[in-house]
């Protein structure tokens, strides 16, 4: 990448799974030096849920982990050990941003919350991403992926006509995916403010609020008219004369949006293969597309754009959601093995020597193997 808007910014990354880890990944893509903190006793759960086998080193092979954590350095420090906590506080003095999505209170109890870290480094921008936000009666509530489809309102508007609501499900976990698209921009804005004023910020993100924010006009309309009908309408959309998925002769579904209703469309699709139907509809100025699955996405490199790339080990990983300066990104480093860069980072930022590093390893403060099996 020729342009690095966040060159010189260093991120201490406690981000897990998608919501946290992907926010710091997007900062890395913009040129930030991202140091991911894990420990043998607490791996990023993506290392475990995506493990391909139980052979030695399984924790370094999860595709989901590698998709999300490329372009980061990996440090393993036990955040429950006072020495591990002290080292992390020292690292925070050399960082501009912290990203975390632990359950509320976890970092505070370890002496690594905003109060502690900002006392050591007032310029720190601290992004706390949680299910419900850092305040309010539900702040300690747990959620997992599609819990938030339900509680945000999205599920109430998703489903077959007049049937029960639907969630995006475990293979999408939609609310987890969108939070980083917003949080990254806010973190960048706060970094600009910290540069200008010398003061950092505590950024409190509620994933549920991010998901509800995407229904802003629905909430606004409901507030003005509580009797406004709501609920499931299949694929129909207010203001759109006709819109649905139609089944084609070759067994594939296509999506069609019509500006003028056409009762003959279903039969038209049923008589033709999907590609021919889509081509015929597009030629008439009608929006139509084949319903792709994951394998279709892998095959269609033009449609992929900049969203998928290969890392230096040849693995397929997440690219960018946008093109910057006309380009996507090259992956400069694959997702780190557990603790791969512990020595490198502690030497570079804190001046540790071999003897000190060996001592930390012997004491179990640092590690390269997990102490857990399942999450």
């Amino acid at each position: 990448m020729s342009t690095h808007p966040l060159a010189g910014v260093r991120v201490l990354d406690f981000g897990l799974l998608t919501a946290g880890a992907n926010t710091s990944a997007m900062l890395a893509d913009l040129g930030a030096d991202v140091i991911k903190i894990e420990s043998g006793a607490y791996l990023d759960p993506f290392r475990v849920v995506g493990k391909p086998d139980n052979e030695d080193g399984w924790w370094n092979r999860s595709p989901q982990f590698r998709f999300t954590n490329r372009n980061k350095r990996g440090v393993a420090l036990n955040i429950k050990d006072p020495e591990g906590q002290r080292i992390i506080r020292d690292l925070a003095k050399h960082c501009d941003v912290v990203v975390e999505n632990f359950r509320r209170g976890v970092l505070d109890r370890a002496g690594l919350g905003y109060r502690d870290l900002s006392a050591a480094n007032p310029r720190l921008v601290f992004a706390a991403i949680s299910s419900q936000g850092d305040t309010g009666p539900e702040r300690m509530n747990v959620s997992f992926g599609s819990t938030l489809d339900a509680t945000s309102g999205i599920a109430s508007l998703t489903g077959y006509e007049d049937e029960e609501p639907r969630i995006s499900g475990m293979d999408v976990n939609y609310p987890d995916q969108i939070v980083s698209l917003f949080a990254t921009g806010i973190v960048i804005t706060a970094v600009m403010e910290a540069r200008r004023t010398g003061r950092g910020a505590f950024l409190d993100f509620s994933q549920r609020e991010v998901a509800s924010f995407t229904l802003g006009e629905e909430i606004l309309a409901a507030s003005a008219d509580p009797t406004r009908p709501s609920g499931r309408r299949g694929n129909r959309e207010e203001g759109v004369p006709q819109q649905d998925a139609y089944h084609c002769r070759d067994g594939r579904w296509i999506a069609v949006t019509l500006g003028t209703p056409d009762a003959a469309l279903e039969a038209f699709c049923a008589d033709r293969d999907s590609a021919a139907t889509v081509a015929a509809l597009l030629a008439r100025g009608i929006a139509a597309a084949v319903c792709n699955d994951g394998n279709d996405l892998l095959r269609d490199t033009a449609l992929q754009g900049v969203t998928l790339v290969r890392d230096d080990r040849g693995g397929l990983v997440k690219g960018l959601p946008y093109r910057l300066g006309g380009k996507g990104i090259d992956i400069e480093r694959a997702g780190p093995d557990l603790g791969q860069h512990t020595g490198e980072v502690l030497r570079e930022l804190l001046g540790y020597d071999d003897a000190q590093l060996n001592e930390l390893a012997d004491a179990g403060v640092t590690s390269t193997t997990p102490a857990i099996g399942d999450v």
């Binding site: 509680t151 969108i178 505590f202 003005a224 819109q243 999506a255 449609l303 992929q304």
Partner: protein, 368 residues
């Protein structure tokens, strides 16, 4: 709220150009990105075509007849009507661009070449990736959802695939464009050359749906909609519905919560086992919900650390205690529409929220 002169993006000037002939789905993304910047204090000038942004006439509508969609997407902005088909309009726009830090617009816009060449950093919203050369292809959010593979993921495997509620395609792209805009402003602010930003709805949806590509790449088999075969399903309760969701480590707590001895059968101990016996599992789970309210279910489940999700409608969200406690929903006094209630930006910055200011009336001259 803090005074507007204390807002983080207040020293930036941003132009949003709404071309008359651009598909609605692109316009929504542009407007959302610019709205976020405006709520954060940027001086956002929205250039509307004669007759106004067509979103002014798009549903859902407020009882007064105004568009709720427009009011949500255009808070805190100023507006100016310019006829960009004509030389005078373009000259006026060029003058505005000279003083702007960034300009947001859509790819098929008639003024795209001029906007790309301006000294403001271009933030461009398109339907398809740059390499596809498909700017003229008919498009909707729904067809992008299909292309991005997300449509394939929701519904029953034997029935038609389902879209997600709301404008998820346009808004995910709008959030992306906002982050791209912030990156461009940060680069300018640091004295670097800012990268121009190009966001396509198709790329954003694939990026959001990365697990489909990851899963297909790892196993050769694409994930897809599982409906009643999924471990996570929606079940009815006394006053609505609840999403049954838990992690692998939360299964023992979930089993204890339901308290039916049939769940102790070892065949339910693993994710694979539960999936193989999914109909039987749900036959056991479902009755537990039937006589309880969503509030009771959420309360008892959370007490055991089980993340079941009660389903709320937009109207019900207006009453949620959590949103009230955090003042997530702002009361906005609109000069002609009266009191409106809408979500604020979903972040608290040192405890501060960013209260939106009312969307602009259509104006053919800039208010000073």
């Amino acid at each position: 709220m803090a005074a507007p002169d204390d807002l983080p993006l207040q020293r930036f000037t941003i132009i949003e150009v709404n071309d008359a002939k651009v598909p609605l789905c692109l316009r929504l993304a542009t407007s959302l990105a610019a709205k976020i910047a405006a709520d954060l204090g940027a001086d956002v000038l929205k250039i509307e075509p004669p007759g106004g942004d067509p979103v002014r006439r798009a549903p859902p509508f407020l009882p007064q007849g105004e568009s709720a969609l427009f009011q949500f997407l255009n808070t805190s902005k100023r507006s100016l009507v310019l006829d960009l088909e004509g030389g005078a309009g373009r000259t006026a726009l060029a003058g505005l661009l000279d003083k702007a830090d960034a300009v947001l617009f859509e790819e098929p816009a008639s003024t795209a070449a001029m906007l790309r060449a301006s000294r403001a950093t271009p933030i461009e919203i398109a339907a398809f990736p740059a390499g596809m050369d498909a700017a003229a292809r008919p498009v909707s959010e729904f067809t992008i959802l299909a292309l991005g593979g997300l449509l394939h993921m929701v519904g029953e495997p034997e029935r038609k695939p389902l879209r997600l509620g709301g404008h998820q395609v346009s808004y995910a792209a709008g959030l992306t464009a906002f982050t791209g805009l912030a990156a461009a402003l940060a680069a300018r602010d640091a004295g670097h050359t800012a990268p121009d930003v190009r966001v396509s709805l198709a790329e954003v949806m694939q990026w959001v749906n990365w697990k489909a590509a990851s899963g297909a790449d790892a196993s050769g088999i694409s994930p897809g909609r599982e409906g009643k075969l999924s471990e996570f399903q929606i079940v009815p309760c006394r006053d609505g519905h609840v999403a049954v969701v838990y992690t692998a480590t939360q299964w023992p707590a979930t089993r204890a919560l339901i308290g039916d001895p049939r769940l102790d059968d070892p065949k339910f101990n693993t994710r694979a086992g539960r999936r193989q016996n999914i109909a039987e599992l749900y036959a056991i789970l479902t009755p537990w919900f039937a006589d309880k309210t969503r509030a009771q279910i959420q309360h008892t489940a959370q007490a055991r650390g089980v993340p079941f999700g009660p389903i709320f409608s937009p109207a019900e969200l207006l009453q949620t205690e959590q949103y009230a406690a955090r003042s997530f929903l702002a009361n906005m006094d609109h000069p002609t529409l009266g009191a409106l209630r809408l979500p604020q930006l979903p972040v608290q910055w040192n405890g501060r929220s960013f209260a939106p200011r009312p969307a602009p009336e259509l104006a053919s001259e800039l208010a000073t």
